[in-house]
């Protein structure tokens, strides 16, 4: 800072005080001075100045934590949200609440870079974090390709590109192998994926879920639903007549439980033929690398003959 020679003692005092305040407020959380900042554009088209190869990174969403680990940068994660549980090693990391963001806990973890999901976190939170000197990079994952791309991007941001590209390549290969396996499938059952059994939250247009079901040799019923995340009506399901219903319904779930909530569904082919399956939600609801495993789980349900039983 250049100090003008004619500065009065009082304003000098003020400047010193302001500098002190600044040091107290954000000195401890500011990225190291020797790490240069580079401007990048995140998935929300915000311009963010991020440090090159940061050492301490923090994710505001479980799916991003999984992406960071997939990108080979797990050792840089210094804290996770209270909703995180994968990979298991994160259970021993410091935790903070992400909804709403516990800013004090985040600041205390002294991250160099924070990753946020555009589906869960709000840009307002990012503004608050930026104000205390913490750069936030938003990642958006809508499709399976986005997910693969986000692994490479996160690898680039965290300086682990070779590992990230290896993971992304192998996930891509796994998806390609799945596509090969189901390419010749003649009968593609119409499949309804539900997020809950009582209130029918589902994946609407533009979701990665439809590509997962298509890769697994099915046809997603809600692929052309005009809302992005609709609550379906009972009659929608009745008229679409899904042949398979898959959902994150919990462990002890069956066609009967679904019928209890939706008594008119006794004619729905999936229920008549007993093709209602419950799957672990994390493989389908978290837009991260485990979606690939989820897609393989789907093929085991839709076309059991195509997958050797374990």
């Amino acid at each position: 800072m250049v100090t003008a020679p004619h500065l009065s003692a009082w304003s000098a005092c003020q400047i010193v005080f302001a500098q002190l305040l600044l040091a107290v407020l954000c000195g401890c959380t500011q990225p190291d001075a020797d790490k240069p900042l580079i401007p990048v554009r995140d998935d929300l088209q915000r311009e963010v100045r991020v440090p090159v190869s940061p050492d301490r990174v923090l994710s505001l969403a479980p799916s991003l934590t999984e992406i960071i680990y997939a990108a080979g940068a797990g050792h840089k994660v210094v804290g996770v949200t209270t909703a995180d549980d994968y990979p298991a090693v994160v259970l021993s990391l410091p935790r903070f609440s992400a909804l709403p963001v516990n800013f004090e806990a985040v600041a205390a973890l002294e991250p160099d870079l924070i990753l946020a999901s555009d589906q869960i976190n709000s840009p307002q939170d990012a503004a608050t974090l930026a104000a205390i000197g913490l750069p936030v990079y938003f990642v958006g994952v809508r499709t399976l390709d986005d997910m693969l791309k986000s692994i490479r991007t996160v690898g680039y941001l965290l300086g682990t590109s070779p590992a990230a590209n290896r993971t992304a390549d192998s996930l891509e290969a796994s998806l390609a192998a799945l596509a090969d396996r189901t390419a010749a499938v003649q009968i593609r059952p119409s499949t309804l994926f539900l997020v809950g059994d009582a209130t029918l939250y589902a994946f609407g247009k533009g979701s990665y879920m439809h590509s997962m079901i298509a890769l697994a040799g099915g046809k997603s019923v809600t692929r052309d639903h005009n809302m992005a995340s609709p609550v379906l009506t009972d009659e929608y399901v009745l008229t679409r007549k899904p042949e398979v219903i898959i959902g994150s319904f919990g462990m002890d779930h069956s066609s009967e439980t679904l019928l209890e909530h939706h008594r008119t569904w006794d004619l729905v082919p999936a229920i008549v033929q007993g093709r209602v399956y419950s799957v672990p939600g994390d493989y389908f609801l978290r837009p991260g690398p485990r979606l690939v495993t989820g897609a393989w789980m789907l093929v085991a349900l839709l076309h059991p003959d195509l997958v050797p039983s374990p």
Binding site: G196, P230, V231, L232, T233, T264, L267
Partner: protein
Amino acid sequence: MRSAWLVVAGLTVLTVLSVGFAVTVGEDLDRGAVLHVLRYHFTLSSGPPPDPTADRIVWLLRMPRAALAFVVGGGLAIIGAAMQALVRNPLAEPYILGISSGASAGASLFYLGFLPPVLSKTLSMPLAAFCGGLLSITLVYLVARGSTRLSVARLLLAGVAMAALMGSVTSFITFSSPDPDKLRAVLFWLLGSMHHATWSLLPLPAIVTLAGLVTLMSLARSLDAMLLGDEAAHSLGVSVEALKRLLIIVAALVTGTLVAASGAIGFVGLIIPHAVRSFAGVTHRRLLPACFFAGALFLLWADLAARALLPSQELPVGIITALCGVPFFLVLLRRSTYDFG
């Protein structure tokens, strides 16, 4: 007398047409298939059976839904009119004594698993909501009750305070709930929706509402007198304190039952009585039945709009009642020379 019959005939035709229209809105169904289902059921299952999918959609989903909207809308509107007479305040509505917020708190406590297992095993969500509403209004009543008379000002203030208290209970429960799926379900319920209407759910709200309407009609003259003030009503031979207690009991039972059936649907009980007064006058003998039909048809059409606006998607009807009802109400307030009471 002839004009009264004309009105009744007109309302019946309007109701039949509205229900008829309501059962055709939704997923694309052949008009003929809808008619086939209706003909089949109204002729007591004679003739060839209809397409089973259309049958389920029209007869088991859309009909009970329309009927529930009709009952709930009518019930909330008459209770709104009665509450406005009870507290002599145009802002009064069925929820003013904390019933809906109590019911919401009860429902969220139950649904998100915050009740002890002994309780949650014996209760169902509607019952939990009903109990919450009843508990809330009982507390309000106990606070407002004086040694000789029930203070209307205290009733209103205690009601508002209780609504805030129960609201914060609901917020805290939903905020601290660990289960996102159940949380979404509760939020959906809190906004009010007809989507779980079934024939077996219908009799209780229908009977309670009808009983409420009959009771209020028998009190119509006393309600008219209440609008003049406690003392004037007393000098007209109305036992004011007994009437107040009776009104609160009727309001608690009807509103509690309706909220338990469909969630807290707002604005119907506030705007319908005012809207109806501007053309049916303030005498309760005419106001109450008119309110019943206006509220019933309004909610039926609001639910229809909710389904037509976003097909294949459940939209809580509470959003529509405010969205469509309030502008209409404001215009009405502005245009007429309406004066409360």
